[in-house]
């Protein structure tokens, strides 16, 4: 099966240069540190006796902490996906790639599948950071790490799925925007700046919230089912959120639309 061979070749492309493990190390440190801080701060609070303050439900605290793997870490598989796609044009490796396999749609599909697998691996690595550090800190402050809670394991599975989808979105974006610098700027500006602002603003009115739930970050948090943004944010306003499977479909839809547009607008173009 040539699609299998093409996918293995795409996996080999990622694992034969250093970028993937550099990103993985930065991600696990970043996610682990944040999970540790959240667990320390919120786990150390004793809110039961606080008078006057609105009661905050912290029964799902462990879920919120573990979900940082995707809620914070999602930018890493997007970056890896976008960089793996754009490096092909930057280093002109599209030429040998298409010489070896002139079926360009198949090459792009193989790239998507390969990056989904690597995104899932990134999900596992990010969970090592968020669950590993988070559970240790929660136990240290005397809170339940939630390993007996089935919701924990559902969340773990959905984080892996979300990270896989984010990596595919990265590939799709890198296909549509082959300029590596431009793609990097778009990923960082959108995920770190534009989307957080849109999500905050959209939460103000109900009708904007209905639109805002389709933002990729919101969809991702809906898929995972728990997030620092939704759970520790405005607890008074009603949180408008998609079902978990709808969140997954939104992410997949974004990847598919951007990927198909990228294929017809850029991928099929002359390689000069």
């Amino acid at each position: 099966m040539s699609i299998v061979r093409a996918t293995i070749a795409e996996l080999a492309k990622v694992f034969t240069v250093r970028l993937w493990w550099i990103l993985a190390i930065v991600m696990v440190l970043y996610v682990g540190a944040l999970a540790g801080i959240l667990a320390g701060v919120f786990g150390g609070l004793d809110l039961s006796g606080a008078a006057g303050a609105p009661p905050i439900d912290l029964s799902g605290l462990h879920l919120i902490i573990y979900s940082t793997a995707s809620a914070i870490g999602y930018v890493f598989p997007v970056l890896l996906g976008a960089l793996s796609a754009t490096s092909e044009s930057r280093h002109q490796t599209l030429t040998p790639t298409f010489l070896a396999n002139p079926r360009r749609a198949q090459v792009l599909a193989a790239k998507g599948v390969a990056m989904a697998l690597i995104g899932a691996l990134f999900g596992v690595i990010a969970l090592v950071g968020s669950v590993g550090v988070g559970a240790i800190v929660l136990s240290a402050v005397g809170k339940d790490a939630g390993f007996g809670d089935s919701d924990t394991w559902v969340l773990v599975g959905r984080v892996v799925l979300a990270m896989a989808l984010w990596a595919v979105i990265g590939v799709a974006l890198g296909t549509l925007v082959p300029n590596q610098v431009a793609a990097l700027v778009i990923v960082l500006a959108f995920t770190q700046f534009v989307e957080p602002i849109l999500r905050s603003v959209s939460a103000i009115w109900e009708w904007t919230a209905r639109v805002g739930q389709f933002l990729p970050g919101s969809a991702s948090d809906a898929l995972v089912g728990s997030s620092v943004f939704t759970s520790l944010g405005a607890t008074t306003a009603e949180v408008v959120e998609l079902e978990w499977w709808q969140g997954g479909l939104v992410l997949f839809g974004i990847a598919a639309v951007v990927g198909v547009v990228g294929y017809f607008a850029v991928w099929k173009r002359d390689v000069t």
């Binding site: 293995i8 034969t16 280093h91 002139p102 000069t272």
Partner: protein
């Protein structure tokens, strides 16, 4: 299919980039068992033609095939056609061995070929170094290794000599000869005739996207210059003009184009004009190439080069 896919067939090939016609109505055939030079100045359309042949660029019109089969329709393209385009199609952070391994994986070619081709191009000692640290010559060799990966019957090499040191040039000349002697079809592009002159049997010359010469190198020399003179220069001039030769009169004698020294001597002999000078100019081949490819304002180069094609081959 595989049996016939060893000739390169370019037929009425054209490519327009916006308002620029990079290749226009180009036709030629490259046969197995010889090294064919694909020559022309920078920007003549060589690389665009090769990229159309390899399915990387879509032609505006016409076709470029391997015995009638387009590159994109080949069963296992790397096992049929080996290609080395520009010397920079590598990820700088990847080793040579891994670079080649990716394409054996993608195509199902045996992984053993990686070691073989690395040895063949003399790169086995550097195979585990990252390509980013390679010299241009090493990149050229790695490009060749990629071309040889599928043990193909057809080789398409774009400027393979560019950037090689004298030892590398000597090596690649022998190497190309060896490949052709094994019955392979070898097409080598270059912007310098002198670079490939010793290794090619045939030359296809294009300029500004148009074919200006297709034939043997000896045939190309017929378009070169011969200096000839006689004590009775006027009689010689008249005799040559009567035979339809193109003659330039200079202070040192007559310069005849498109005829070789033997023919000129015979013409003079028949006319009974004793010669005082008859010399093929040393830079004849290079001069002929320059004349064919220079932006000549007076006459279209194709106009006088085309007729020699028949007599040459």
């Amino acid at each position: 299919m595989a049996a016939t896919a060893t000739t390169i067939d370019v037929s009425h090939l054209s490519k327009t980039f916006g308002a620029v016609e990079a290749v226009s109505d180009l036709s030629f055939v490259v046969e197995p068992g010889s090294v064919t030079g694909f020559l022309g100045p920078n920007g003549a359309g060589k690389t665009t033609t090769l990229r159309m042949l390899l399915g990387l660029v879509t032609p505006t019109s016409g076709s470029a095939t391997f015995g009638g089969v387009g590159y994109r329709d080949l069963d296992n393209p790397l096992a049929t056609v080996g290609t080395a385009l520009e010397a920079s199609s590598f990820h700088p952070g990847r080793t040579a061995r891994n670079h080649l391994g990716i394409y054996t994986t993608a195509t199902g070619i045996s992984r053993d070929r990686v070691e073989k081709v690395l040895k063949q191009v003399g790169m086995d000692a550097y195979a585990d170094r990252r390509v980013g640290g390679y010299s241009l010559g090493m990149r050229q060799r790695l490009g060749l290794a990629f071309a040889l990966l599928g043990d193909p019957r057809v080789l398409v090499l774009d400027e393979p000599i560019n950037g090689l040191d004298p030892e590398g040039i000597r090596w690649i000349r022998g190497f190309l000869r060896e490949l052709a002697d094994e019955g392979r079809t070898v097409l080598v592009s270059s912007h310098l005739l002198s670079e490939v002159q010793q290794s090619v049997d045939r030359a296809i010359i294009i300029t500004r996207g148009k074919l200006v010469y297709d034939g043997t190198l000896t045939g190309l020399e017929f378009t070169a210059r011969v200096a000839v003179d006689a004590p009775d220069r006027a009689a010689l001039h008249a005799a040559l003009l009567a035979e339809g030769a193109r003659v330039d009169v200079t202070e040192g004698g007559l310069i005849v184009k498109e005829l070789d020294a033997t023919t000129i001597g015979a013409i003079a002999h028949r006319a009974g004009v004793p010669l005082s000078l008859l010399a093929e100019q040393q830079e004849g081949l290079e001069a002929a190439f320059l004349e064919l490819t220079s932006p000549a304002p007076e006459a279209k180069p194709g106009a006088h080069a085309a007729p020699t094609e028949g007599s040459a081959s």
